[in-house]
Point group: none
Chain length 209, copies 4
């Protein structure tokens, strides 16, 4: 009696609605994106949206939080590998910069939530919690890295992780039209890691003396 095909179809359509919603919300903001426009972009009639999301607000929540959960999972996965803390963090940076490279809209969506904290207080809370989870994970790995002499010991891990997350968010925000073709993109990625104050091999040697 199960109808797996239908279930699959539903999920697929839900996904396609969400995808369009992310683009449109990110480009035009919440209020200026009408559900009718989203429906039109997906290629369905206005009513159909509400078969998949109970309200415009719920759609917005999903458009913000689901991609955020995605990047969180991927980022935490990087940090939970075996390996030297410095390498783990470098992998995470790589992962995250690639992410905002390919998912600029998703990131900007999150940012615009943080820009209207009173309007969407619950959503803001969840986004900030998600950021907290990230910074906590980074702090732990960073502290370990400091103990192992891979990072400069004079910086507070709490500050370092926040500075990094701030840079990551700011990058998507302030780079021009399409960050994808920005000539400094690769260098920025490198400098994001520099922010962690890694100790160069030569320096390491000196320091261990």
């Amino acid at each position: 009696m199960a109808r797996p095909i239908n279930e699959e179809k539903r999920l697929e359509r839900r996904k396609s609605i969400l995808k369009e919603a992310v683009v449109l919300f990110a480009e035009s903001g919440y209020s200026n994106t009408t559900t009718a426009i989203i429906a039109q972009s997906v290629g369905v009639t206005p009513g159909t949206i509400f078969q998949y999301f109970p309200s415009k607000e719920a759609l917005y929540y999903a458009a913000v939080l689901e991609p955020l959960a995605d990047i969180q999972v991927k980022s935490l996965a990087c940090l939970q590998q075996e390996g030297a803390p410095g390498v783990l963090i470098q992998n995470m940076v790589e992962e995250q910069f690639n992410h905002i490279y390919f998912y600029t809209n998703e990131l900007r969506l999150v940012q615009s939530v943080l820009g209207q904290r009173i309007r969407f207080p619950e959503l803001t809370q969840k986004v900030l919690e998600s950021i907290k989870v990230m910074t906590d994970a980074i702090e732990r790995v960073y502290t370990k890295g400091q103990l192992m002499g891979e990072f400069n010991k004079s910086f507070s891990p709490a500050m370092i992780s926040r500075a990094y997350i701030s840079l990551l968010n700011g990058v998507g925000l302030t780079l021009g039209e399409s960050i994808i073709h920005h000539p400094e993109w690769e260098n920025l990625k490198g400098h994001a890691f520099y922010l962690f104050a890694p100790i160069q091999p030569k320096e390491k040697l000196e320091e261990s003396e």
Copy 2:
């Protein structure tokens, strides 16, 4: 010549409208802030707003751009002083962090514009131009600093200035409720300067060898 007093009154009221608008737009976003609410916060009736601004959109533009011009002027002033590039930049960082400390709403307003680039294309252009003016100015001073051996020569000034502006914007965005009481605030300010890769006196010595 009988007008100056009235003129002054008008300017004062215009300013008070703008001040409330900044707060409300920043907290609740453009669409969710009604002109009626702004009027009420200022203590006037709905019609009055339109005696000072031709439309809600014009008010929004002013609320975004006027404070932005303010910080720009102040920042450029820092960089145009006499003095060592490193010191100038350090002063600018100090100035700007103080600014986002005291004018968080104004900053978030700018950020939310950048989060809806298609909605307010003209405004977005102007904000990005303003950022460009800042990064250009920083680049020039930074390049001079590199030549004078005050900054690590291996980083591109274009990248450095963008990384810094990104961090600056990201800080306001990602710090919790009120950045004002964040325990890492002072350290973050210091690390923002670290991003410029300044050369320590000792290092300077070594490098000059």
Copy 3:
């Protein structure tokens, strides 16, 4: 001839839909009762409703008129028995009060139709006709009763029958939550008969003098 079983099944399902519809329409009104809710209550899917009733309005008509026909048949049956008019009417009162006791929803449904006469003009007509049939029948028996000295002759049968029907309808309407447990229920039933101005045996004697 291979159909009777299926036919029976259809009738049974139709009946179960009607039953739920009566409850839901009576509780929440026509517009606030969605076909989807009815379907869910019955345990079928939305489309199925329309296999049994051509439209929501047709379902409403049936939900109002079929129970009304029921009570009408039963009531007329009481009046068409052999016996003294006073007894026949007393039986009818008993029958009808029992009916609204057990079928409160059905009665309220009828009443709410009468509360929106322009919305459902046809239905209103049919309900009023049904009431007319009842009052006519009562009038005939009552007139006979008056002639036989069982009822006070000074009242117009047309008025009496309308007063009674009004009381009957008003009772369902104005008694609190559940008329079923109302402490005055039994007394009300007695007073409904009092409305007919029956002549007590003793009085009868006096009057015939």
Copy 4:
């Protein structure tokens, strides 16, 4: 600084909206009466309605309760006069029947609320409370009348008052199109008083013997 003229204008307009709303709600029911139609009937644009009532539901509440409060005040006033209980009650009956004669729509509105108790539970509560206030007042006067030998002592005042209220409501409900021209109208009014089982002077005499 007071603007009595404006205030007065507002009240007048509010009243005219309410008046139209009563008619339309009573004729077509809540859901089938659109706010646009009400606005059109009043001669204003759709938005104006919401300057006077926060929502359609609030308008409905007012349309139901305000006329109900009116009749309640008038009815209680009748009962609180000086005089014989029988006379007071007769005055009240007169007052109330005149009321439903001139305000049929207002009455039907109340009835249709009672026909959808789950849809408007709060409103239903208030209407039932209002009815309770009426029946309580009637009971008190009736009890006094019984003690003074004006009413048959064998009936429970609680039952009598409920029977009367039921009849009153039922009359508006079941009389055809316009009760105004119903030939039995005057007789019905008389029979409503008969329901109280008043003792005729002659009977009074006999009973006191």
